[in-house]
Amino acid sequence: MILPDKTTLIEDAIAGIRDGATVMLGGFGVPGTPFTLIRELVRQGQRDLTIIKNDANEAGMGVDHLLANGQVARLITTHIGLNPRAVAMLNSGEIDVEFCAQGILAERVRAGGAGLKAILTDIAMQTELGAGKPRIEVNGAEAMVETALRADVALLHADQADVFGNLDYAATARNFNPLMAMAADHVIAEAEAVLPLGDLPPDEVHTPGPFVDQVVRLDALSEEYGVVRR
């Protein structure tokens, strides 16, 4: 048995995304954000997207391009405070924003990836983030239903991939990437290095290849990937 090669041209990979799609984007701030895949999504211009991402990046970076280009209808996120455009579009009603507690967003995505329907938690139950969500009793205490999230497509950034789609992330660039890798019908990973089969040790793989549909090799890294000078 051999494992198939999933390397793809970026244009072809992103062309599979349709208007109205739900798209998960890896990343927490800069690390782990698939800036190159996002740039191609901006170039192709798919509209009416629901974006699921921890944050909205900063001005001129990542999600900000999608917002500026009017491609986003809805954002499911934990914090958008570093992106003035996102805050302004929320306030003006141009985009619909659903806020989650950060670890609950991670668990909802993971639940989607694990084929679960929902999780039951006590997080945020007594705050406005929990308003209106169904409650049931578990072992004598009240718990709140947080539904699983899935997406049509997940866009990920890996440090290293092999051609089958096994992925390794660097340092804090891991964050939401391995969770989203499990939670979308179609998973596209950009990677700084694409290695032959056998070059990633099986014990060190962060995302197993079967979760990944397409691997895009990054020939160069744009400025967006660099250290931010504030």
């Binding site: 048995m1 494992l3 694990a114 089958f164 099986p202």
Partner: protein, 210 residues
């Protein structure tokens, strides 16, 4: 039967082969065939089974056989392993059976009062693999049919089976019940009908032999 079942695997699939007969299917795949085998104890990219003297004590499949890796294998924990199964990333699973009903119900884990070891990973494989095929003898050791109108044993999963490979035939589960697709060399259609305890629709024209 095993070699016929092996042809069910299409290039590029992710496949889980259950304990027993299904495990033997791997011996009928060409060395350069592109397929990713999964075992629920935490490995994708299973390589050949190894004899005890070459075995790695930490590297087994869910049936306890000592297996190996291939270039591109990955190890992961049990939660990730079943996330792969339940989220629909398993294209195909091949499972053993005690009973299969004409509506696709599968019973393969419990014979009340006799054999109740627990279902292991079978429930999730049966319920969530994109395609579920059964590999089994057509009848049990006492000659009793395993393909039935209704299962009598506790179910593993309802309506999950797509196709059955037996020593006598290839049978599909269709919305209209069991449909005979192929018969084994040297077996007659009447013999298959006699060994099946449910309606069995026959193909138009000549039937393929495997």
């Amino acid at each position: 039967m095993i070699s016929r079942a092996a042809r069910e695997i299409a290039p590029g699939m992710v496949v889980n082969l259950g304990i027993g007969l299904p495990t033997k299917v791997v011996d009928h795949l060409a060395p350069d065939f592109p397929v990713c085998l999964h075992t629920e104890n935490g490995l994708t990219g299973i390589g050949p089974t190894l004899p005890v003297e070459d075995a790695d004590r930490n590297l087994i499949d869910a049936g306890g056989a000592y297996v190996s890796t291939i270039p591109g294998s990955a190890f992961f924990d049990s939660a990730t392993s079943f996330s792969l199964v339940r989220s629909g990333r398993l294209d195909l699973t091949m499972l053993g059976a005690f009973e299969v009903a004409q509506n696709g119900d599968l019973a393969n884990w419990k014979i009340p009062g006799k054999f109740s070891p627990g279902a292991g990973g079978g429930v999730e494989l049966a319920q969530k693999a994109q395609r579920v095929v059964v590999l089994s003898t057509h009848t049990d050791r006492s000659g009793k049919p395993k393909l039935l109108a209704d299962c009598t044993l506790p179910l593993t999963a309802k309506g999950c089976v797509d196709r059955i490979f037996t020593d006598m035939a290839v049978v599909d589960v269709t919305p209209q019940g069991f449909a005979l697709r192929e018969i084994a060399e040297g077996v007659s259609v009447d013999q298959v009908i006699a060994a099946t305890d449910a309606e069995l629709s026959l193909p138009d024209g000549e039937i393929s032999v495997f």
